[in-house]
């Protein structure tokens, strides 16, 4: 497999992203390594082909933003909005992720080995997110669709104003947000969890040790008696 290396000490970010936006025929199946990222923002954003990208260190804001098809591995930690609005493909953060990881993402798989900051999975629209560690407060705020798996603990107001996304938590939950409630683990949800644990390298985790959360659907249509929850 052909590997091409861009060293961000030598190349500009524009050169890296422009190359990664080449025709799919040029990129499919290739591996592109980004050396010395040193927290640069917007690395590997807007990818649209089946290319493998390895970022050899820490990435800044919006790494792999709006990803389609590509497989992006961040060997260090990722800044705010990693894989934001991802459509498909896979993004793997081996370190920690900052705020708004996977924000508004529509598809694909985001795997974070460490902890994620505030608002992980905010407004998610179909993405699958697996966090090996814990997530900060307001995670899955207004989450519309998709699955958020948290192997560690969750902060305050988890799943506030939740729509149809599922949240699986193994550890403790500081508090649930408005309209988020515990649900019985049905067979379909359990299978989704088992699959996601396997896909993210957590196949040893016991699916029965997770709690399933979903929307109570009380805020779906405004009623004055629920005004305090808005």
């Amino acid at each position: 497999m052909e590997t091409i290396t861009f060293d961000l000490d030598q190349h500009t970010l524009r050169e890296v992203n422009q190359y990664l936006h080449s025709d799919a025929a040029e990129l499919n199946g290739k591996t592109v390594t980004v050396a010395n990222p040193n927290g640069s923002h917007n690395i590997a954003v807007g990818l649209k082909s089946d290319v493998n990208v390895t970022i050899q260190g820490h990435a800044g804001y919006y790494a792999a933003g709006m990803n389609q098809l590509a497989n992006v591995v961040i060997e260090g930690s990722a800044g705010t909005g990693v894989a934001e609005n991802m459509m498909s493909g896979r993004v793997h953060v081996k370190g920690f992720a900052s705020n708004a990881a996977g924000a508004t993402a529509n598809g694909g798989l985001l795997v974070i080995d460490g902890d994620a900051g505030l608002r992980c999975g905010i407004s998610m629209k179909g993405v699958n997110i697996v966090v090996g560690g814990s997530v900060g407060s307001f995670s899955a705020f207004m989450a519309q669709a998709g699955n958020l798996v948290i192997l560690g603990d969750a902060g305050e107001a988890l799943g506030d104003s939740l729509y149809e996304a599922r949240i699986f938590v193994r550890g403790s939950i500081q508090s649930l947000g408005a309209d988020c409630e515990e649900k019985p683990m049905d067979a379909e949800s359990r299978q989704i969890l088992v699959n996601l644990l396997a896909e993210s390298g957590h196949q040893d985790a016991d699916p029965d040790s997770f709690t399933l959360l979903g929307s109570a659907r009380k805020l779906y249509n405004f009623h004055v008696d629920n005004a305090g929850d808005y």
Binding site: N42, K48, G81, N85, A103, T104, G126, V224
Partner: protein, 444 residues
Amino acid sequence: MSDAPKIPQTEPRYSATFDKNTAAEIRRAAATGIYDIRGAGAKRKLPHFDDLLFLGASISRYPLEGYREKCGTDVILGNRFAKKPIHLKTPVTIAGMSFGALSGPAKEALGRGASAVGTSTTTGDGGMTPEERGQSSILVYQYLPSRYGMNPDDLRKADAIEVVIGQGAKPGGGGMLLGQKISDRVAKMRCLPKGVDQRSACRHPDWTGPDDLEIKIAEIREITDWEKPIYVKVGATRPYFDVALAVKAGADVVVLDGMQGGTAATQEVFIEHVGIPILAAIRPAVQALQDLGMHRKVQLIVSGGIRNGADVAKALALGADAVAIGTAALIALGDNDPHLEAEYNKLGTTAGAYDDWHEGKDPAGITTQDPELMKRVDPVKAGRRLANYLSVLTMEAQVIARACGKSHLHNLEPEDLVALTLEASAMAKVPLAGTNWIPGVTQF
């Protein structure tokens, strides 16, 4: 029979404070326990472009010949950073209005009308529809807090991208599309269950302040390979600072929307009491651009209550590069038309006052997702009416510019204007008519 003298009676007197509208709203609130929601922008009387006048040419300045001497109207937007800036034939654009808030045929009509005269339309919350992209030769794609329907394929299809921070009708507020307008198609585009109230966040999910915005804009530029102009839209509140920060964050174009600018639905109290009129916002915005040496380099589009060519000319004379229309465009398509009076009456309102756009029952078929009602919009005919209206706006602005001796609309300047009221004089920073006085700037 009594001989007692008749005692004069006082006339029944309504309170100016507790007028009929106010009392009716108190009764409605008491009965329902919920605030009033409606569409459109501020309806109260506000200092506006009507409070300004052009001076025209005289002995000291001479005019251009009406139909012979050229008066340019074109504008280029986004040449600060974008590789592919936008060229418009007229500085009147169509403001962002969503599919969801508006019907598919209404969006198509907007695209047809705008394209016919060489100007742009703008998507809204809910994403880009094929009808809209297909009929709009120049389409601005909004990037909103909810990111409903946002995807990189549409981002690449757009001609420009507008990062929406706020809008004039509700600066600081999110959106609301009530369940009755969430049809199967709208639900699918927004990834929500059918019939559920769609709440749009008031803040972007993955950035907060101006420093983050700079990185966000850089991300969108990287994704689109620096080709497309990036606009930043703000509701008019603190225009000097917001425009300066948008420029600092890397915007190509700033869109400034006054409180008369419409919304699909929000609280009446929000529409009427938050934000400032566009008249008060333009000069501080232009001042910010001038202080940064960026006037005419970062273009300024203003909106909120633009109705005729005089409004266009006045906005440009105060320093804007272009204007956007929303409410006026809907009226041109057929919104609130008197021929539907009987149907408006059935909804408890009257033609010209109908603003319950969130209920999805629009007899004109514009602010609805009802498949039967929306058939009433013929996109070709409605598009033609919009094209006609846009042409009139442009020609009217040219009439005024020529009268002021200007060979391009952009040559209009504040010195061409005077104000009729002290308020307008202070806000627009042009002298009170017949004087040299600008309150806050010069001594009486």
